[in-house]
């Protein structure tokens, strides 16, 4: 029979395989009813928190909600592809720092997200939430995402070792004080020619380190109108400070890196201080459990006496798809997950993240003493600094700007390593000019698209 098949055995076998696999695929497809609302997140701790919180919402509204966890970069690229291709997108999706501009670079008709401005005002969320946190989710004066967090940055330190060294952290008010202290404790303890103890963890080529310090100075890459905003005299000063503290022979910082390297450097006492946003304070508890009771927290030193004692690092926003079939329900879910006061205390205890809803900071959970950080009231410490967090602004080229600022710093670093102090200030100014010119070129390209209706 096989031989009588028109094209011989092989095509028949292929045909049988194709038919069988199609049948198997059809038979194994889930027969479950799709959820009424789908929410996508990139953070595992958010995923778990939402999974725990959703049954109550489902019961209250008589609907089903599915929460999906997608890798951070995949979420961004798939969401954008799905939006532009008009295919199925989650009803709600969390996006991260610097990404809203990417989704809103074209004309407004192309935006895939609902304009939430009127809903925010209608429900009074504009006053109840830290105002600065709306800025990164605002494009052309309209709000497109709800802020999930504040992410103030504090200085964490090895309390046990710092106390052993006789350092009183309450006397460190400015970065000048910190550097003076840091230079004293940065030492080659065993005399083998390699420094065994540094004061601070700072990446040599900028990245999050230079961003935190620029933001503390009130400098973001862009302003509210989308103009390049980092080329200022204060940015020059920050660059010079950074170059000295990461590259000069008397530097007091060390680049501890990420993951196990970071926790090992902290556990070994290779670094004593580290800039720690609220989200990272939670990760540190998990990654370095042996440091329980040995860590302390203090506000960041200010650039000048009485100045801002914090900065910000990272952020998440919740968007609602323009194509959702249930916009009101999606809005209710967004508010429930982000701003239902009664759940925020429990969630804070699980991940240490300060919510932007100011009234939640009075909950007992935020006053709990944290054993890991030597019994300090972690919630209260971070919440006190939350109102000082500087605003950040959206741009289609936010990530390009971050890369250009790092590139400018790297070029200055090469110059500094080769030529030292001579002409360094001029070099920093020139590199910032160069970075600004490059970004303006890009901004002009996007302006062409944004204005096309």
């Amino acid at each position: 029979m096989l031989d009588r098949f028109p094209y011989g055995k092989a095509p028949l076998v292929l045909l049988v395989i194709a038919v069988l696999s199609s049948v198997a695929f059809a038979a194994t497809r889930s027969s479950e009813r799709p959820a009424d609302i789908v929410i996508a997140t990139f953070a595992s701790n958010h995923y778990q928190a939402y999974k725990d919180a959703l049954p109550k919402f489902e019961q209250q509204h008589g609907v089903t909600v599915e929460v999906q966890q997608v890798d951070f970069q995949s979420l961004e690229s798939r969401l954008q592809s799905a939006i532009v291709a008009n295919t199925e997108v989650p009803d709600l999706a969390e996006i991260s720092e610097g990404t809203l501009g990417f989704f809103t670079r074209g004309p407004e008709k192309d935006f895939g997200f609902m304009d939430l401005t009127d809903l925010v005002k209608r429900d009074g969320l504009d006053h109840r939430v830290v105002e600065a946190r709306y800025a990164p989710w605002t494009v052309r004066g309209r709000v497109y995402a709800l802020p999930h967090d504040v992410h103030p940055v504090m200085m964490a330190y090895r309390r046990d070792l710092v106390e052993e060294l006789g350092i009183d952290v309450s006397k460190i008010e400015t970065w000048a004080d910190f550097v003076a202290m840091g230079r004293k404790i940065t030492k080659d303890i065993d005399g083998d020619g390699t420094i065994d103890r540094f004061a601070l963890d700072l990446p040599k080529n900028g990245q999050w380190g230079i961003q935190i310090l620029l933001r503390q100075h009130g400098i973001d890459f862009f302003d509210a109108e989308g103009n390049v905003a980092f080329n200022t005299p204060q940015a020059v000063e920050t660059f010079l400070w950074y170059l000295h503290e990461t590259r000069s022979p008397e530097r007091m910082s060390y680049e501890a890196g990420w993951g196990p390297n970071y926790t090992k450097a902290l556990s070994d006492g290779l670094i004593l201080f580290t800039m720690l946003p609220d989200w990272r304070s939670g990760s540190l508890e998990v990654d370095a459990p042996k440091l329980k009771g040995k860590m302390g927290l203090m506000p960041l030193p200010a650039w000048e006496k009485g100045g801002r004692r914090t900065s910000t690092w990272g952020m998440t926003g919740l968007t609602i798809s323009k194509t959702t079939k249930h916009p009101e329900l999606a809005w209710e879910l967004a508010k429930y997950l982000y701003y239902s006061k009664e759940d925020l205390g429990t969630r804070f205890l699980a991940n240490n993240i300060i919510p932007p809803l100011k009234e939640a900071w009075d909950l007992p959970a935020f006053h709990t003493k944290n054993a890991y950080y030597s019994g300090q009231q972690l919630g209260l410490e971070y919440a006190r600094l939350a109102p000082q967090v500087p605003p950040l602004f959206a741009s289609p080229i936010y990530k390009t700007a971050a890369a250009k600022v790092d590139e400018a710093l790297a070029r200055c670093a090469i110059y500094y390593d080769e030529s030292g102090e001579t002409g360094l200030r001029e070099k920093v100014e020139a590199e910032l000019d160069r970075a600004e010119a490059y970004l303006k070129k890009w901004s002009d390209r996007f302006a062409v698209l944004a204005n096309k209706e």
Partner: protein
């Protein structure tokens, strides 16, 4: 002069006679008049048309537009190409790619050939067993995904705690605190080092296969005639495997121009690709432009420039090969 020979169609075919045309000094061509081969080809042709030919043609057009997905695009003529020609970052990416390609050709391939020659020597039973073992060892890095290798080397090259840094420090007293991925001068060496580990074994297999087909009697005759090992290699072995060498050179050139996963995995902790973009390649640049910035039009223009460069290089290499054949 052209002759046409009519052949009988295979039994059971409803097709007509099979025409075979022969060009003088050319390769004979066969045109089957029956529909059977074309039915078999149809799935391939349909899929290729949908997933290759159509996007290929669209990509040509797209290079002349600035886009925000399919909904909004603005015709910008040659502006995308003009932008790239004036973009210092594109120049850096191109330069880095050329440096990496040169390292692949002039460092990786000689090393692969050297290893292949070592594995090709010796004929005893034990040597043959060891050969198999080393072949597996040298080829095995290729069984691992390059993303994994990138992550792995990112860890191995960690200052103070990384295995490579500690080994170098132990052996030569240098490198313990070296930030390979954070120091502009060390980023490219780190990428080359990683790619050597990954691809030397792969290329070695090609060379080994070619070396095994070299006429041993010819080499023996050269030795009897007084040729030293270098002369045997240069005048007998290398010309005998030149087609494989050209093939591997072209493969390495194309592969190097398409370098993407390694820098992506190794340098992802930095904003951009290494300090001052020292690890940026044309394909990582394309990815940044097309997918991170969302400008598919400009991305297409980069793609076209890369395609033209690869085609030019391959063409030159083919010509060199042809000249050496003549």
């Amino acid at each position: 002069m052209q002759s046409v020979v009519e052949l009988e169609a295979p039994a059971g075919e409803d097709s007509g006679p099979v025409s075979v045309s022969k060009k003088k000094l050319g390769r004979p061509r066969r045109y089957y008049k029956g529909k059977t081969p074309y039915v078999f080809l149809l799935p391939y042709l349909v899929l290729t048309s949908i997933f290759f030919v159509y996007p290929f043609i669209r990509a040509i057009a797209l290079a002349f537009y600035q886009t925000n997905g399919p909904r909004t695009k603005v015709f910008v003529g040659l502006d995308n190409f003009r932008f790239l020609l004036n973009d210092a970052i594109f120049h850096t990416a191109l330069w880095n790619t050329i440096v990496f390609t040169c390292c692949s050709i002039f460092l990786q391939l000689p090393l692969a050939l050297g290893l292949a020659m070592l594995l090709n020597s010796g004929q005893s039973k034990l040597e043959n067993r060891l050969k198999g073992f080393f072949r597996l060892i040298l080829f095995s890095p290729n069984l691992v995904g390059s993303i994994f290798v990138g992550v792995l080397f990112g860890v191995l090259l960690t200052p103070r705690y990384g295995l490579i840094n500690r080994t170098l420090h132990g052996l030569v007293g240098w490198g313990l605190e070296k930030h390979w991925i954070e120091t502009p001068a060390l980023v490219m060496p780190a990428l080359v080092l990683t790619s050597l580990w990954l691809y030397v074994g792969f290329n070695m297999v090609y060379f080994l296969a070619a070396l095994q087909s070299v006429d041993k009697e010819l080499e023996q005759a050269a030795r009897i005639d007084g040729a030293n090992p270098w002369q045997v290699f240069w005048n007998v072995t290398l010309p005998s495997i030149r087609h494989v060498v050209i093939f591997v050179v072209i493969l390495s050139t194309v592969g190097s121009f398409n370098l993407f996963e390694l820098p992506l995995a190794m340098l992802n902790r930095t904003n951009g690709f290494g300090p001052d973009n020292t690890g940026l390649t044309v394909i990582t640049y394309l990815n940044e432009i097309a997918y991170r910035s969302g400008d598919l039009g400009l991305g297409s223009a980069v793609g076209w420039i890369v395609a033209l460069l690869i085609m030019s290089c391959s063409f030159v290499q083919f010509r060199v090969s042809k000249v050496s054949d003549d």
